[in-house]
Symmetry: C2
């Protein structure tokens, strides 16, 4: 018996047609130095068609790659929609990549055209001569004409103004029929070993991830929402918030390059988003700003999504208690599109116990299956206790990497499951608790010590701005935890006080034996703690370890 249902393809084009035609009055607001600028979704649809026409006119055919080097703004959104919808592949370049990584990924993906923001011309120009396959650069943004175009032109590439090429094109485009399994977009993960590895999303994976984001258990987006993606569109698709907003008809509030607490808070009060998403450091800065400006209220926000690295409970508690803001932790990675789990609190849980669940990496979404696997490859019980590596699979999880020459790439997969590299537990309600990145695990005397738990507890101390805990070699115990601490401006705290602060919540053998006060925690290009660098600094004697009394 055959199903009688239509063979309708789940494509970014169909999502774009829906959003721009059924929700023509929704808007994209982009922050500017003075305030903001806006276009409606109806206009967005026309500009998307113009962009597709322009790219086709410049020679983009088939699955050619078009790269973006942009902040979160209306033009980046146009690229998000036009490039996949015309059948090409969107390659979001991380503007924070180290130069050699940027050159590697652009050449590896064979990018043909790069769209760059006016404000990022200076950052791109030095690398542009080395982007071998790039033929054209389009400079976007209100100040594009005033940018230093010569610095780009000296590369020998053809440099055009984005608005000029759009103006030459009609408001409609002959969108091709696409297969939902066609490549739509790609994003490289900044691995800490070897070259970056590319994940190639399909139209289908982006569509299904967007649908999941619109469900009640994730963000429950409706066309009455206003979505503020602070997490960059060059980082794991801004957690899918851009496509999900278009799908639901929610308006988008785009912060562009105004990511410091003061302009960001101002943009929130002016553009009144209902949902936002960013990494913990951003919210930490926002919290400090709100604490200093008690007259400011972010009362339009009904839900704040936070992830990218473990979210300190103290941050969530401070936001709720002092500012009435509800922060929800989510977990995922570039390889999972990225959202895989969201830490909603289970039904019937009240009071203090709530925080136990809000501290987890979240509950598995429908569509993402998870399991915990031991070192020997056996699947461990889902009891919230057995610790092992988290493996996931699902329609928006990658099965491999694009043309990778990394011999380790294959080891990231286990019979159809993605090995996440995250270590932790899974409980009978589908909540994931992560204790460490596999590569950052601290094993002392045969027992795990969770750096994440220690960091969370340390960041709960009023004098601590940030804390990163790494394992350092120990003759007797194999490894022991070292806590590196960034103290808040104007505050003071001693190693003994911090150890005392931890003593109530941890067994004695879990407490760090060594504390080092540092200026800032080194970070990777996507803003995560770079513990490899911390361990290296320790080895090279660059960290001054404070004596404990």
């Amino acid at each position: 018996m055959q199903s009688t249902m239509q063979d309708y393809q789940l494509t970014i084009a169909s999502l774009m047609h829906h959003g721009t035609s059924v929700h023509p009055d929704s808007e994209v607001v982009t922050a500017t130095a003075e305030g903001s600028r806006s276009i409606t979704y109806a206009e967005l649809g026309k500009r998307t068609a113009r962009l597709a026409g322009a790219l086709r006119a410049l020679g983009i055919e088939g699955d050619d790659r078009v790269a973006t080097f942009q902040w979160n703004n209306a033009e980046h959104l146009e690229a998000y929609l036009a490039i996949p919808s015309m059948g090409a592949v969107l390659h979001t370049l991380n503007i924070r990549l180290f130069p050699e990584q940027l050159i590697y990924v652009a050449n590896h993906a064979e990018d043909k055209i790069v769209i760059v923001d006016d404000s990022l011309v200076g950052l791109l120009a030095p690398q542009l001569p080395h982007l071998e396959t790039v033929t054209h650069v389009l400079v976007a943004g209100p100040e594009a004409a005033q940018a230093n175009l010569d610095s780009l032109r000296s590369s020998g590439k053809e440099v055009l103004l984005y608005e000029d090429v759009l103006a030459e094109q009609p408001e409609t485009f002959d969108w091709p029929e696409l297969d939902e399994n066609d490549a739509a977009a790609m994003c490289y993960t900044s691995g800490t070993t070897g070259n970056p590895k590319g994940v190639v999303y399909s139209h289908r994976s982006a569509y299904l991830h967007s649908m999941a984001s619109c469900t009640g258990n994730v963000a429950g987006l409706t066309f009455a929402d206003r979505v503020l993606p602070i997490v960059p569109m060059f980082h794991a698709n801004a957690w899918g918030l851009a496509y999900a907003a278009i799908m639901s008809g929610a308006s988008l509030c785009m912060p562009d390059r105004w990511l410091q607490a003061e302009p960001l808070v101002r943009f929130v009060t002016e553009s009144r988003p209902t949902i936002s998403g960013a990494v913990p450091t951003v919210w930490n800065d926002v919290l400090t700003h709100l604490d200093d400006h008690p007259e400011v209220k972010l009362d339009s926000l009904r839900r704040i999504l936070c992830g990218g690295s473990a979210v300190p409970v103290s941050l969530m508690q401070a936001l709720r208690e002092r500012h009435g803001l509800d922060m929800i932790q989510a977990w995922g990675m570039t390889e999972t599109s990225p959202v895989a789990s969201v830490a909603n609190v289970p039904l019937g849980i009240r009071g203090e116990e709530e925080w136990r669940y809000k501290a987890t990496a979240g509950r598995l979404l429908c569509g993402v299956e998870g399991r915990i696997v031991a070192d020997d490859g056996s699947v461990l019980p889902r009891d919230g206790e057995a610790v092992g590596e988290l493996e996931v699979r699902g329609p928006w999880v990658t099965a491999g990497y694009y043309a990778s020459d990394d011999p380790d790439a294959e080891a990231k997969f286990d019979h159809g499951w993605l090995r996440t590299g995250d270590v932790g537990t899974l409980d009978h309600l589908g909540y994931i608790t992560l204790t460490d990145r596999a590569k950052d695990v601290i094993k002392s005397g045969g027992e795990w010590i969770s750096s994440v738990d220690l960091e969370n507890a340390l960041m709960g101390h009023q004098a601590v701005l940030e804390a990163a805990v790494v394992g350092i070699p120990d003759e007797k115990w194999q490894e022991r935890p070292l806590a590196t601490i960034v103290v808040k401006q104007g505050a003071t705290v001693t190693a003994d006080e911090l150890r005392e602060h931890l003593a109530g919540d941890f067994a004695k053998w879990q407490l760090p034996d060594a504390f080092a006060f540092i200026e800032e925690v080194p970070r990777t290009s996507v803003g995560k703690f770079d513990k490899k660098v911390l361990r290296q600094r320790f080895r090279e004697g660059e960290l001054r370890v404070e004596p404990l009394s």
Copy 2:
């Protein structure tokens, strides 16, 4: 460039595994004569495995069809999950089908096994001997052992107790790998011409429809919700509410056969659903009951979905104003899985204008494309004015009918679009306004008269329980509207008063020239007004038309 994403199949099995493993504490509550009975989703998962084992043991292989003849209850839900997940095809038999239709559809689908509720044995028994391909009948429900099993056995089929066959099977089942395009379930539409026609849903269509139901623009289901599907599971999949609840982890409140206002309202107050769905007549009865019992509050309900036929604005207003209940109209049909549009009010609309949007058939969901087509096949503008037939397409819209011998079946499709048979307009915000079924259209002097608008207005009169308007032949005008009226118990109203009541909202030429008071509106087997019967009664002189002064 190939996408690197996993080839993960969207199946009812994966939805079932998610719901029963990640939400083990959610529950299925089934109404009983005395109160209710409950099982958890963890138990549901085990019983689903047992049922699959039992069906396999009874010879169900491949895509064999297993039929259900059941109310909305836990056992029907087990069939919903087990049958498609084991690779077989669920055929939901409409218990209200006329005997010859029931026999036709069961034979046409070649059903092998029928699962029947204890309370429905008497309804099935007379037809059972004619169900040629059926070999076994499983009798489900707490009273199964007390049912008149002999009345079934006399058919020569093997008759077994559902609980007995489940008890013999293990709590786990070796679920097969399925393709998402495999047939999962089927439902026949009770066409008013020719034999019923079967729609065969795929795993993919059911999965995507469930995801859509969980999005904020539809029901926004979360695991904190409790879903009460009053619309039968044998009627267009209970609007997808059963699968959507499992997917989101929402609990289910199943009314079984207690669909009269009094036990239904009691079940709502006891099981405390947050979301419910039913046709207007059910809510009409509930409204009358609530009006008579002002002490009863249905305050657990945050959203009431209504559809299946046009929802009178007066009903929605009465529920909101007198009982604080928010009713949302949705539109769809068996051929669209069924939900295609939901009448959320656009952003920024307040006061009286709200009702204009709440009166529509709703706004197109992402995934469903719609267009209005003229008689000559041309596509009309989406301006809210041009009237034509609504055509839709999408991943949960059918492309045909199962092995249909109806020569008209092909005419239901237009180059990949489903011709819905509904006539109306589409506006620039994607709102559908339906004025008539194509076959019920009234065309007077070359102009459309909307029977739906007239019915809505008539049902807004305090003395009118129900109103159905049909076109009757007219020498001068080709057709003129005849209003048939069911007066509320104890109330009185005259034809003149009703015409006067309409005069404010309609042009004179649109007003019915003829009124007939009837005992009840004839209905099809799915509870819709059967206007074919009304027109026939008029032709045969069975309707007494009241003189207007």
